[in-house]
Subunit: 360 residues, 2 copies
């Protein structure tokens, strides 16, 4: 099969980690007889430096005309980088928000699971970890506070800022359906997270999720308040299968869950629209402090490439091959600095990429 992949290397460690993911994709192509045609576009700080904006319309067009997007990471040091002196809508992150909206990527899947090999890196006590945990956070990505109207104005001499949190039933229904669909392929449990004791948008959320649930009688649905969920993730992460939530709550909870897994450098994510199209990226950031030093962990990006093959190209065997290769490399004791522990073999970004590619 021939497929077009838009590649966004981005800023910081982005270029290094994407290069390793492409190394792995190339190996898959060779082995399984596919052809992946890459087109690079700029997004984030590197686009600001070249075009003055974090994402051009031309770049969006290229992405739209491809079959999937592989993204590294964008942004720099918010205190020192000149990018953060610009108006908010010109900063690196604005590029990310723009591409999500323009491509209609409303369904953000963020797995957070414990790698048995990385148990030691998990911040939680052993009796809480138990046999490990494995959850999928399904975050709504194109609504809520991120895309509502906002303004800052002077009201009777007092500077006042307003952001709006809006959801309509259609936006909630389509993400809920995705959440239940995924749950059917997993352990058939959905925890819908909201703040229904305060927010109207959460009450609508809960109502629509209850309606959607009727079509999935096999799936167990529970509702949980966001503050309680922030606690439960720490107290007993094993209780979760699919967490279904709106944009801002999903931002906070998915980062908390990622850190709890202790495997941030290993966590991939997918952002999907109504078709097979999707954008795939590591859950971690651009780590400008270690950029260009061959120290970054490319595994999250490699696993994002695996998600790309599975979700956008229906290449399950190929995705399994990548996942297994990663597993074998970890079992063989190879570690980048972020997941290093005693008696393991420390490798750099490039070597880690080659090790995984060689295992395929």
């Amino acid at each position: 099969m021939e497929k077009k992949i838009t590649v966004i290397k981005g800023d910081g460690i982005g270029p290094e980690i994407v290069t390793e993911a492409q190394k792995v994709l190339d190996k898959v192509a060779e082995k399984f007889g596919h052809k992946f045609v890459y087109t690079d576009i700029l997004m984030g700080g590197c686009s600001i430096d070249k075009y003055g904006v974090p994402l051009t319309d031309e770049a969006v067009e290229i992405a739209k005309n491809s079959d999937a997007v592989l993204l590294g990471s964008i942004g720099g040091n918010t205190s020192t980088s000149p990018w953060y002196k610009l108006a908010p809508n010109l900063r690196p992150e604005a590029g990310l928000l723009k591409i999500r909206k323009e491509l209609g990527l409303f369904a953000n899947l963020r797995p957070a699971n414990l790698y048995p090999e990385l148990r030691e890196a998990c911040p939680l006590k052993d009796d809480i970890i138990g046999d490990g945990f494995d959850m999928m956070i399904m975050r709504e990505l194109t609504g809520g506070l991120y895309f509502g109207a906002r303004k800052t104005e002077n009201v009777d001499g007092v500077e006042t800022a307003v952001d709006t949190l809006t959801y309509n039933e259609n936006e909630i229904r389509r993400i809920a359906i995705r959440g239940f669909d995924i749950a059917m392929k997993r352990r058939k449990k959905v925890t819908s997270v909201d703040k229904a004791n305060v927010l109207d948008s959460s009450r609508l959320w809960r109502k629509v999720v209850n309606e959607v649930a009727k079509d999935y009688p096999e799936v167990e649905l529970e509702h949980m308040l966001v503050d309680n969920c922030a606690m439960q993730l720490v107290r007993d992460p094993k209780q979760f299968d699919v967490i279904l939530t709106e944009n801002m709550f999903g931002d906070i909870l998915s980062d908390e869950a990622a850190m709890i897994s202790g495997s941030l450098g290993m966590l991939a994510s997918a952002s999907l629209n109504d078709t097979k199209f999707g954008m795939y990226e590591p859950s971690h950031g651009s780590a400008p402090d270690i950029a260009g030093q061959d120290k970054a962990n490319p595994i999250a990006t490699i696993l994002s490439a695996s998600m790309l093959l599975r979700f956008s190209f229906d290449m399950d065997k190929e995705a399994d091959a990548i996942d297994n290769a990663v597993k074998k490399v970890l079992e063989a004791g190879y570690r980048t600095g972020d997941i290093m522990s005693e008696d393991m073999k420390l490798v750099g970004c490039k070597e880690m990429g080659s090790l995984v590619a060689d295992m395929i």
Copy 2:
């Protein structure tokens, strides 16, 4: 000194734990020659049952005319209790939001610290706990998404809900000043948490906090994005002294921090206005499942009474006496069920209250 305390026992375990806190307050009164005059008001489910509303205006008046409020907990089981069949503005929680607003309690202080005696109950690995941690979350309590306009309406046949997140510079300034004031009495570090890469309200928040910081040259200020803060609390809670944040972020992060401390049953909180007046309550909920069984841990409420004496009545010696009594009871090995561990002595709610009172 004679002082008027409004007592809100509330729902669930509320009555039991408040009774024990009053036992301790009475002992303090006797020992230090004060007189505490209590007036009970109803709030939450018990008020709904009697008056049809979660908080009457008469009850608010009584609270306003007292020197401080001691609150147990309100609310019931959200799936089974008939209170949750009512319209949102008639549910138990609406009483809590109303009293916060009516009394102008904009500054919510939520300490989250590890009790050395309860190290085992902390969910984090030993090397992360280190010598323990001790942070104070300063949450804005009368603005943001909690009190902005909201509506649910039919827009061209599609049900749509809108909540508004509003802050003006004055609301931000007064809570920031409180945060820096508290930091001056602690380790002189403020972490201001926002989502300035997305929200206008967060950008205004950051700007005003920077302005306020100029008056506190001794205090180290850092800004942190809310998603990162949710991670850092798990990764390294020791890094925090005062966390300063808006209403919804504070709700989520304070619960996460409380759970991380492993001492939820021990954590008190204060909600203050512009004067010495304040409302004091445990950080935990109403635990309807164990209500009336003499199993609840009254320590968080007892420590809330201690905060009441310290912040509203300037009774530092008296507050120290309570804090020390709690410490001694823990050192002597007494534990309620929620904090029980091997070789300790299990006691009920009443006995725990008596033990603390006797130590004073």
